[in-house]
Chain length 246, copies 2
DNA sequence: GGGGAGAGATGCCGC
DNA sequence: GCGGCATTTCTCCCC
């Protein structure tokens, strides 16, 4: 029975055929590009995708410890006791060198997946809700526009109140912070300036706001309205049910 | 020769022994937690780490299409034609169900890696440089403090100029945007207020700034100074050399 | 644990 | 391509 081709030949073959490559190995890593990094030797999981994505995962943590994005050119060279995996992203001017000293496992395969994820519960769902039902914010509000583009950014929801003051609403699906207040401030000030009016109100709609951000908000003369993103409670109830199902 | 244990037994064993688990399979996925998502059937790479991290990768892209963070409890159940992988993160109140219909490949192993990455070229390197050499910004500047905490955030570098005006410097290692200008504005206004003085200057130090952000900055009476993060040119030179080496 | 801010942020959509 | 901005942002640091 003929022996299998050497590791680097297998890898080259998989790269050429644009297979997904799963490699568990002891390696050290150097990166040079938008920043510089070095990582001493350890056991890691390397993933090379058909689109030229390279991910390096340690045994813990959510995020790859090193990575190269789609469009990376990869090649491997065999040396007496190590393999050198060179990764180069021409457009981003990024380079990575992985020195492999021990190969635990290599698997490669053609994969097919054309499906896209369907995601709900993001901020747009919240601004959709407030555009459809502005009285969740305050009785008498009339919604005028959504995602209105200004020179200084996009206004989530624009309304008039019952006294015909313009009302600018900025939504956050999570707790609001300084940045959210500043976004609101930027839109309000810009609209006042460009329309030459002063009766413009600013409302920050979010489930909560940090104490400091609230102080800041109120100093600027704006309001916070506590609003949960849509289906927040239903979602929680579903979770509770699922606990029972387990 | 005895046949190997069924897939779900192998997986249970690996979970119990806290091995890293690499699984290439056809699956569909539902997630419920901070948001809700569903993903129809396709070929994906699943990774389960010893710390309870679960990653789902499609054949393209940098980022996992679905994930559960460290601390996730995972168990698997076998049904007539499918396996159900249940993932539950108690603290985050998150749930994921993965329906596996075809197993291409399963590999599990103990892994060891205690190494930490060494990273250079981040923003702190830049504020360190400006604290040490404030005259890179403007002749006659005297640095007073770094990372100074205020009620409204942290000031990167605080200086006095040759006319004894207080100068607040905000650093960005990349192109500055609206948010950077607003951060600077917040610090300057807060310092003016808390110290009861008006001669406070604001300087944004970054390699570049977007046109709109620059307009905004100047309307507020602040300045932009073009500064590259340290070793930027050296880094580029290194890259150039590496191109030659290839 | 919360707050504040950077990140080799990433990804999406707009122009 | 850049710009503006949300992200199941993530991660780190400091209180």
């Amino acid at each position: 029975m003929p022996s299998p081709p050497p590791f680097h030949k297998q890898l080259e073959h998989a790269l050429a055929k644009k297979e997904i490559i799963i490699l568990l190995a002891t390696c050290s890593i150097d990166y040079n590009g938008r920043a510089q990094s070095s990582l001493a030797s350890g056991d890691r999981l390397l993933i090379i995708k058909p689109d030229g994505t390279l991910l390096v995962h340690q045994p813990t943590g959510n995020v790859p410890i090193n990575y190269m994005k789609e469009g990376t050119h990869i090649h491997i060279t065999a040396q007496p006791n190590v393999w050198l995996l060179h990764a180069h992203h021409p457009k981003n001017q990024e380079f990575m060198t992985i020195e492999l000293t021990r190969i635990y496992h290599l698997y490669t395969q053609q994969v097919h997946d054309g499906e896209k994820i369907i995601l709900h519960g993001h901020e747009k769902d919240m601004s959709d809700m407030l555009y459809a039902q502005p009285d969740l914010i305050e009785p008498g509000l009339r919604a005028v526009s959504r995602e209105e583009k200004t020179e200084f950014g996009f206004i989530d929801v624009l309304c008039y109140d019952q006294h015909n003051n313009l009302v600018i609403i900025e939504c956050k699906r999570n707790q609001a912070d300084f940045k959210a207040v500043e976004q609101l401030q930027r839109y309000v000030e810009k609209v006042k300036q460009s329309k030459g009016i002063t009766n413009v109100r600013g409302i920050l709609a979010s489930p909560s706001i940090s104490a400091n951000a609230k102080t800041f908000l109120e100093q600027l003369g704006y309001q916070h309205v506590a609003i949960n993103p849509p289906h927040f409670k239903e979602q929680h109830r579903k979770n509770q049910k699922k606990i029972g199902e387990y």
